[in-house]
Structure formats: structure tokens, C-alpha cells
Amino acid sequence: MTLSVTATAGKAVEGIDGRGFTLEVAFEVGADATVAVVGPNGAGKSTLINVLAGFLPIDEGSIRFDGQTLDDAPGGAFIPAEGRPVALVPQDGLLFPHLSVLANVAYGLRHRHRHLKRQERNERARAALDDVALGAFADRRPHELSGGQAQRVAVARALALDAPILLLDEPLSSIDVDNRQLIRKLLQERRPPGQIQLLVTHGPDHALEADELLVLDQGRLVARGRPADLAARPPTPWLAQLLA
């Protein structure tokens, strides 16, 4: 259950400053690992998420997971987002505005766990909402939620899938302080065996909890290692400031 990434991507993506931008990374992540991806704005964190989720095909290299090729630029193989063993918590929740909160959480179960009957789906979705302390909001519409609540629903929607790889793009950015602890605890306790969690974050405490840190800068992997080691001898001034 190893995720191995050797990829160049984003040649067609315009960088944050309008100049060209390329992500060029190589790393492996083993089962059960939590990896925090950190870096300044425009470092390529979102591009990395898009590449792993299957939204952006890579230009060179390959992405493999557990013996399966997800993307292989030279070989031409590409598994689109809907076929990947991946669940994603996007930065701003991105709930479907025309569906109830419950239907939002059940949506992934409907497609990824087709054997489930409607009632089982809804039970699981309800349980996932209870986990993020929003069980009472099941019948609401997304526009009735605060930004933080929407983000918690997005966490529930992704966790309910029990996906082998969970991508989290700043999952706590709008969540209030009281609930951050709840979500962080949930991400650890609710994870299925073997799940890899890859987390983009700007929060030093969340990053320090990870098993490994990947430090990106201008599309390159400039440092990686255990958070404690990197905190002791920060390889870049930016990281020193983040972990200070």
C-alpha cells in the first residue's frame, strides 16, 4: 500500500504570479502514514493535490499506488478522478448547493459503494455527520451553513468513503478553534487501516502532528523528514518561521 510519485506537472498551469510554473516532485508514502505538505503560496501544494486527485494529468513521470498505475505519462495510462482510490477534502468545502447536507455526504457512498442500499447509505452518512458534530444539520441546505460547518461536512463526506488515500487541502482553514481539535482527533481515530493521509496545511501544530513533512517551494521538493527533525534544524528560512 505504497503511494509512489515521480511527477512533473503543471506546465500548462499559470503560476500565482502569472509566470510559468512547473511542479517537479518525487516521493513515496507508506501505508498508515500522515504526510503534511507545507510551503509558501505558489509552492505547488494545490497542483500536487490536483495531480493526485486526477484533476490534472502529469506531463512526465508516473504515479502508482499499491501496484496500480494511476498516471503514467510516457505509457499514456491515466485513471480519471472517479476511478481513483482517493477521497478529497477541498479547501472551501465545495458542497453541492442543490443537495441536502445528508445527500452531500451520501453522494460519494452512492458512487463508490454501489452495493449499499439507500437506507444503509443514509445511515452511514448520518453517522459521519454525527462524527463531525453536525448530525442535527442533516436536512439543511449548504447555504444555511457557516464556512466552518461546510468544511466539517466536507470532512464527513470524504471520511465516509474509507478511501485508501485521503487528500486534505487545508481542511481546518475555516473551522473555529473549538472544532479544530475535534476534526484533528477524528482524522486520526476514524481512519481505516492503511489509509494514507496527505495534508496541505498552513497550521504549524497540525503539520507537527504528521509522520512526515514535505516542504515545497516553487514547485520543487526542498526538504522532507520527520517534523521534529526539521523543526530542530529548519532547512529553509520559510520553514523556520512556520515552525517557530
Partner: protein
């Protein structure tokens, strides 16, 4: 001042229509066999054109909003040109294409001129641009990341279209369909040119007005009043879309 004068000038004909209308005989005039037939033809033609506009126009709008392909600007021009083309020209073009002596008519020995199907075709051509523009605009302003998110939750392209994009575009589809229907109801030039003015076949309400005006002006007034009422109804139904309620 200019605005007040302008509004007055626009208002006078509508007021005159109301004053001129044969209110006492209105029910009788609207229930004459010719009128009932024209109403029936109008409903059949305009509703068929609306359905055709939705069935053809919604996928067209999706393709125009989401995909890049060679000849895209040509497609957009072709589907929207009836908006600015004089309807009679659309009618002449239809004769050249689908008339008995037209391109397809002479090839297959059938023509659609002077038929109800021809009237539907003419109405569809002039009405569909309203629907396409409305739906395409809504799709362009929709967040494409919602579809990505649906993909990431396991939904394939068809499921995403049916479960996410289409429901999100529904208000625009409804508004576009109502506008298209109203335009089809009022269609005159392309219909009379291509489908003729045959009672029970292609004589819709506007065509019937032109006939009534020659022999029975009161009936023409009654029919005009009916169409004015329909038009106002459409405006009221769609008002919130253009002028958000405070």
C-alpha cells in the same frame, strides 16, 4: 423628461389597445371556430418548439460552455443568428433547405413547407437562441470545481452531468424555456414564409391576427389582447430573474 416622453409614447398604443378592445363581445370573439383553431395550432406549434429547443438547446449550450473544438464560433453563430436575422429571411432559408424544391426536399422528394412540422421548425429556429444563451450563461458562471468534486466522489461523466450540472442549471433552463415559448408564440415572419398561412395547419395566433385585421378588426383586437395577456404573464413569471426582489 425624455424618459417620461418616451415611456408615454410606448404606453399609448397599449392603452389604445385596451380602450379599443371589444370587451362586451370578447368571449364570443375568442370562441369563434377560427380563433379556437388558431389557439390550438399556436399551442401545438409553440409547445413543440419549446420541447425541441430544450432537447437540442441544452446539450448544445453545454458543449458551447464547456468544450473547445474547431468551428466552435461557427456553431455559436449558426445557433444564435436567428436572434438578429429578420424572421422572413429565416423563412426563406428554411424554404431553400427543407422546402419542396429545397436542398433536402428535392433530394428526398418530401418538403416541410406548408406543414405543421414546418411551422414547428420555423418557431424552433427563432426561439432556441433564447434558451441557449440563457443556459450557456448559467453554465459559464457555475463553479467547475463542483463537477471535479463529484468526480472525486466517484461520479462518472454522465452522472456528473445528470446529478450536478443539470440541476444547477435548472433555473436557467426554465427561464430560457419560458422565453423560448413566448418567442415561439409570437413568431410570424419565418412561419408565414415557410409554413404558409393555412387554417388548422400553420395559422397560429399572430397569423390569424393578420387575417382577422382584413375582415373582422374586432376579432383582431380580441386576439391581440389575448397575446398581450400571455406576454404580460410571462414577464410577471420571470420578473424575479431580471429584477431581484428586494
Amino acid at each position: 423628461m425624455v424618459a417620461a416622453a418616451g415611456v408615454t409614447v410606448l404606453f399609448i398604443p397599449l392603452l389604445a389597445l385596451l380602450l379599443d378592445a371589444p370587451w362586451a363581445r370578447l368571449a364570443d370573439l375568442l370562441l369563434t371556430p377560427e380563433t379556437v383553431t388558431a389557439i390550438r395550432v399556436s399551442l401545438v406549434v409553440s409547445l413543440s418548439a419549446t420541447v425541441a429547443s430544450v432537447v437540442i438547446g441544452v446539450p448544445t449550450a453545454f458543449v458551447l460552455a464547456r468544450h473547445e473544438f474547431p468551428g466552435k464560433s461557427l456553431v455559436r453563430t449558426v445557433v444564435t443568428v436567428p436572434l438578429v436575422l429578420p424572421p422572413v429571411v429565416t423563412g426563406v432559408a428554411l424554404l431553400s433547405g427543407f422546402g419542396r424544391r429545397g436542398l433536402l426536399g428535392s433530394a428526398f422528394g418530401v418538403g416541410l413547407s406548408n406543414t405543421t412540422v414546418g411551422a414547428v421548425l420555423a418557431a424552433t429556429l427563432v426561439a432556441m437562441p433564447f434558451l441557449i444563451l440563457s443556459v450557456e450563461g448559467a453554465l459559464r458562471s457555475a463553479d467547475p470545481r463542483l463537477e471535479q468534486q463529484a468526480a472525486s466522489l466517484g461520479a462518472g461523466p454522465l452522472a456528473r452531468w445528470w446529478q450536478i450540472s443539470l440541476p444547477l442549471a435548472r433555473p436557467a433552463i426554465v427561464a430560457g424555456a419560458v422565453l423560448a415559448w413566448a418567442r415561439a408564440m409570437g413568431e410570424f415572419g419565418a412561419t408565414i414564409t415557410f409554413a404558409g398561412n393555412i387554417e388548422g395547419v400553420s395559422r397560429t395566433l399572430p397569423l390569424d391576427v393578420s387575417i382577422a385585421l382584413l375582415g373582422d378588426p374586432d376579432r383582431a383586437l380580441a386576439l391581440s389582447l389575448l397575446m398581450l395577456t400571455i406576454a404580460l404573464g410571462v414577464l410577471v413569471a420571470l420578473r424575479d430573474r431580471w429584477v431581484p426582489r428586494r
